[in-house]
Structure formats: structure tokens, C-alpha cells
């Protein structure tokens, strides 16, 4: 029993500390400078039926909401908030008792009123991170912690890089993100594999595979004059959209190419250790076999990540009677191209990783 306790000490600590963290987030209102209101009472007013120009039927309902201010100079005071929600809820919200919201306060002589700016989502995020991290640590102990640490570090670098990119504000900002991709790859691989020859071979394969796929894609985009590509459809773009799109694609495929190169190189190092006399040719062949079986599922993972979030927009396009072709090229085409470019990188990485590993492995240092 005692032994079991020590074995699971890291997990128990993660669960307890994580739980305390979630509790802290639940009562973190004092840390916010924005005013937070806890809703105490909601009454729905009358519901109106609406029909738009495309015969889509919807409803709109007014809500009378009152709540208590949780922080700031009006803390503890009662506030009245108006709200309207639709039954489709594309861009509005139906509030319920105990929801917490950010508000802008308008003080009057008769009392406080305000407008709702947004929903407080930090608790749900904290709970989900807690569950995911606890599961990671539960399964992988120390290596789980390292994986979490590597992502946390990458996120900080990512944030700083964006700050830097906005600060310098140069036209060729693609190269900033290419540099960041290099930093990400070095950092992640040294944390996951360690600082050794295997890591260097994996890094070399990752960088070559990713660069080749971007170079091929840029050539294709230029030769076809970007025909059918609506870069301006890139959501949230505030800078040159084509360059932004390429930077995003580079970063998006980097993890998958790393994933695959890691698998191939690790398998070949292990093979060399088990059969020291194996020839580079045979090693290359085995690497190709490993790669073949990973590439399909891996490309599908990226495809589903890149394309799933166009769902609401695509439904909106179709519901407002746009054609299939138009909807495809303005909502899905960029995600599809991103998937194709990443796919090219994933496939190219197979011979590249197999080649580097088969030539650069020396007997005896396969640890």
C-alpha cells in the first residue's frame, strides 16, 4: 500500500495541485480588472418569430437578467442586464442562473445597469487542462511531465515570437516564423529524445522534410498563379494573407513531420542495436516500411484538425443559398491546401528520415 502510494506520488501531487488550481480559478474574480457579474435571476420575455430573406426561420427572445457584481468598486451591488438570444445562437447567448459574465457597468442614480461583453470560460478550460494533464502524468509519469513542459515552453516562445513579429513589423515575416519553427523543433526534440545523435538525425530529417514540402508548394503556387486560392478568406488575417498562410502551414505540419521522423529514426536505431550487422540499404527499406504505415492516419489527423472548424461558416454559407463551388473555395479550400502541403511534407519525410538514419547511424551509440 505504502509502495503503491510512493509509486503514484507524482500523479497524486498532480491531481491535488491541479484541483487546488481549478478551485483558485473558480474564485479568481478579484484578479480580473474587468467587472464580473454572477447571474442570480433570469426571466424570459416574449419570443418573436423571424424569417430572413432566404426563408430561414428563427426566433428571438429578450431576457431580463439581474445579478450581483463579484469584483471591483461595485462589488456586492445588484445589477440589471438586458439580453436577447436567438434559437440558433450563432452570435448570442442564452444566459442561465449562476452563469458568470464580463460586463461594462453604467451607473445610474436608481441603480446599476450594464451590457454583457462575454462569458467567463476560464473554469471550464482549467478543469479540462487538469483532466488532460492528470491523465498524461498518470500514464507516462515523468515523460508526461516533460511533454507538458515542452508544450508550455513552446507556447511561451510562440507568444514572444508573435510579440516580436508585431513589434518589428517587417514585410517578409514568413522568415520569423521559419526561425521559430527551427527553435520549436530543436527544443521539442531535445526534450523528447535527449541531446544525442538520434536527436540530431531526427532534427535533420524533420527540417529537410518540412523545407522541401514548403519549397515544392511555393513553386506550385507560383506556377499555377495561385489559381482558385482566396488567401483573403483566411480567417482573422491582419497581415499579408498569403505569407501568413504559408507560415501557418509550416508550423502546422512541423509537429506531424517531427512525429513521423521520430518514429522512423527511433525504429532504425533500435534495429541497428539489435542487429549490428544490418546494411544501410536494409535499414532504409525498414524505415520506408515504418513510414508507409504511419503516413495515412497522420495526414488524416491534420486534415480533420485543419478542416473541422469551418463547420459553422460553411453552414452559414449554404443556408444563405451560396453554391457548393463558392462555399468550397471560400471556406474549405485553404484548409484543403494546408492539408495537401502538410501531406507532401509527411510523405517526403519518409525517405529523408530513412536515408539520414541509415547513413548516419554508427554501431554502438544507439542508446
Amino acid at each position: 500500500m505504502k509502495q503503491l502510494f510512493y509509486k503514484n506520488l507524482i500523479l497524486i501531487l498532480t491531481i491535488v495541485i491541479g484541483g487546488l488550481f481549478v478551485l483558485g480559478v473558480k474564485f479568481d474574480q478579484a484578479l480580473y480588472s474587468d467587472t464580473i457579474v454572477k447571474i442570480t435571476q433570469v426571466t424570459d420575455d416574449k419570443t418573436e418569430k423571424v424569417t430572413d430573406e432566404f426563408e430561414n426561420k428563427d426566433t428571438q427572445t429578450k431576457q431580463k437578467i439581474s445579478g450581483i457584481v463579484m469584483n471591483g468598486k461595485y462589488q456586492g451591488q445588484k445589477i440589471v442586464l438586458p439580453n436577447t438570444y436567438s434559437s440558433s445562437r450563432a452570435n448570442d447567448q442564452k444566459y442561465q442562473k449562476n452563469d458568470q459574465v464580463f460586463v461594462t457597468v453604467n451607473p445610474h442614480k436608481s441603480g446599476l445597469t450594464g451590457t454583457i461583453d462575454g462569458f467567463k470560460r476560464d473554469v471550464v478550460v482549467a478543469v479540462l487542462i487538469w483532466v488532460a494533464v492528470s491523465m498524461l502524468v498518470g500514464f507516462m509519469q515523468i515523460s508526461g511531465m516533460i511533454a507538458v513542459l515542452s508544450i508550455a515552453l513552446n507556447m511561451v516562445i510562440f507568444f514572444l515570437a508573435i510579440k516580436f513579429e508585431i513589434f518589428v513589423n517587417i514585410t517578409n515575416f514568413f522568415w520569423i516564423f521559419a526561425g521559430i519553427a527551427l527553435v520549436f523543433a530543436v527544443l521539442t526534440l531535445s526534450l523528447v529524445i535527449g541531446l544525442n545523435r538520434q536527436m540530431l538525425v531526427t532534427l535533420l530529417a524533420t527540417l529537410t522534410g518540412t523545407s522541401l514540402s514548403v519549397i515544392i508548394s511555393v513553386i506550385v503556387l507560383r506556377l499555377t498563379n495561385d489559381q482558385g486560392m482566396h488567401y483573403e478568406a483566411l480567417s482573422y488575417a491582419t497581415q499579408a494573407p498569403k505569407e501568413l498562410f504559408l507560415a501557418a502551414t509550416l508550423l502546422g505540419s512541423l509537429g506531424a513531420v517531427m512525429d513521423e521522423s521520430t518514429d522512423i529514426v527511433a525504429t532504425l536505431f533500435q534495429l541497428k542495436e539489435e542487429q549490428p550487422m544490418i546494411s544501410p540499404k536494409e535499414l532504409f527499406k525498414s524505415g520506408r516500411e515504418v513510414g508507409q504505415s504511419i503516413m495515412g492516419p497522420l495526414i488524416n489527423v491534420l486534415f480533420l484538425i485543419f478542416i473541422a472548424d469551418i463547420f459553422p461558416l460553411a453552414v452559414l454559407y449554404f443556408r444563405t443559398t451560396n453554391t457548393i463551388g463558392y462555399t468550397f473555395s471560400w471556406t474549405m479550400a485553404l484548409g484543403v491546401v494546408q492539408t495537401l502541403i502538410s501531406g507532401i511534407g509527411i510523405v517526403i519525410a519518409i525517405p529523408v528520415a530513412s536515408f539520414f538514419a541509415s547513413r548516419l547511424i554508427k554501431g554502438g551509440d544507439a542508446s
Binding site: Y236, M258, A308, F311
Partner: protein, 250 residues
């Protein structure tokens, strides 16, 4: 369209050169999954209940990805059953979390993109958000389940008499490696998919507090967390399914 055509042709060519028949199958699975996704959007637009449509088509996408992902039926059958169990557990997690996080539809950052549209289109955007989250996890579930199933199958073939408890431990040990690398695929996919949003958020001087409560950011972040939880769940569940199959055979 020509650009997409050329890039597809290059991807297909490379897949065939490097993967042979495996390459043809991989390309076919990507293409079929695209059709399934398109078909799902059309059904949802047509007024079918989004979550039900997504569950049925999601199971078909899992089948496409898994059965075209490996040609060993022992591997694929185990992976498919396991991925179904993972999918059910994830759906039970996704539905309440999406409601609690209230991340349906569009956010403030979308206003430019959607300003030309009437938003009262009578579709249920909460259910569509749940569908989006389910779809985004399917690839990760399938990949995890295939990898564990393939790894364990190799062990069973080499040592058919292996103790089932040892087999489970082997599954967890293979799983550790797979979780570690898949973690990177998912997170970098996330960075890449939402680079523009991150730049916009930093540019508008959003504070950490703003970002962690932002509708679109939270929607994306929880999708990645669902995928990670899905991959982790796939490890013990795939090992368990394989062991049940071996027990039955005895």
C-alpha cells in the same frame, strides 16, 4: 482549383512512389474523408440533427481511416472496436463541456467575415459546435488506436503464448511513446491552424485574461484537449479490446 489539382497530383504521386499500394490507400482515405465531411455539412445544412449525423458519419470516417490505414485485418478490427469505445466516451465528455464553455457559433473576431450574413438562419449552432469538436478528434483517435493495435499485434505474432497481463503492460509502454509524439502533432497543428487568430489577439493587446475567456480561442483549445484525452484513452482501451479478443479465441 488548378492549384489544388496540382498539389493533389503531387501528393498522390509521392504517396505511390514511396508507399506503393499503401500510398494509394492513404490517398483514397484522405479523399473519402473529405467527401464524408462535405456530405456531413450538407446534411446539417439540410436540417438533419447535427450530432446524430456527426456520430454516424464519424463512425464511417473512423472505419475509412482505420481499414485503409493498415492491411492486417487483426490490427484494423481491434483498432476499430477500440476507437468506437473511445468515441463514445469522448462524446459524453464533449457535450457537457461545449455547453459549459458556451463556444458555439461565431466570436467577436469573426465579425468582419460574417457581417454580410444574416445570422438568424435557424440552425442549431451549439449542436454544430459539438459536431465540430467530435470531428476534430476522429483522426487522433484512429491514429492512436491503429498504432497501439499494430504494435501489440506484432508482439502477439512473435510470442503467441505471451501472458495477457504482460501484453497489457506492453501496450501501455508502446502507448507512452505514441502519446508523446502525437502530442506534438496535435499542438503544432493547433499553432498552425490558428496562427492568424493568435497574431490578432496579441495585436489587439488582449490580456491573458481576455485570451483565456475568448470564445474562439477557448473553442480551439478545448478541441485539442479533447483530442489529447482521446489519444490517451485509446491506449488502454485498445490493449483491453485486444485482450478480450484473445481470451475469446482461447
Amino acid at each position: 482549383m488548378i492549384t489544388i489539382g496540382w498539389l493533389s497530383a503531387i501528393l498522390f504521386g509521392l504517396m505511390v512512389i514511396i508507399g506503393g499500394m499503401n500510398g494509394v490507400r492513404s490517398f483514397l482515405s484522405l479523399f473519402l474523408n473529405f467527401l464524408m465531411l462535405f456530405f456531413t455539412i450538407i446534411l446539417i445544412t439540410g436540417g438533419f440533427p447535427p450530432v446524430v449525423v456527426t456520430l454516424i458519419n464519424g463512425i464511417i470516417i473512423l472505419a475509412i481511416t482505420i481499414f485503409l490505414g493498415d492491411d492486417n485485418t487483426q490490427v484494423t478490427e481491434t483498432a476499430f472496436y477500440a476507437s468506437l469505445i473511445v468515441l463514445i466516451i469522448l462524446v459524453l465528455l464533449i457535450i457537457p463541456v461545449e455547453h459549459l464553455a458556451a463556444v458555439q457559433g461565431f466570436g467577436a473576431e469573426d465579425s468582419e467575415e460574417i457581417e454580410a450574413f444574416s445570422l438568424l438562419v435557424g440552425a442549431n449552432f451549439m449542436q454544430i459546435a459539438i459536431s465540430t469538436a467530435i470531428f476534430s478528434t476522429l483522426g487522433a483517435i484512429a491514429e492512436g488506436a491503429i498504432a497501439i493495435s499494430a504494435g501489440l499485434n506484432e508482439i502477439v505474432e512473435q510470442t503467441p503464448t505471451i501472458d495477457l497481463k504482460k501484453l497489457y503492460a506492453a501496450g501501455i509502454s508502446i502507448g507512452k511513446h505514441i502519446i508523446g509524439t502525437t502530442f506534438n502533432t496535435l499542438f503544432f497543428g493547433f499553432f498552425g491552424g490558428f496562427l492568424a487568430l493568435f497574431i490578432l489577439l496579441v495585436q489587439t493587446h488582449a490580456t491573458f485574461a481576455d485570451i483565456i475567456n475568448d470564445k474562439i480561442f477557448v473553442a480551439e483549445l478545448i478541441m485539442i484537449l479533447f483530442s489529447i484525452i482521446g489519444v490517451i484513452l485509446a491506449v488502454p482501451i485498445t490493449a483491453w479490446v485486444l485482450i478480450q479478443k484473445l481470451k475469446q479465441r482461447k
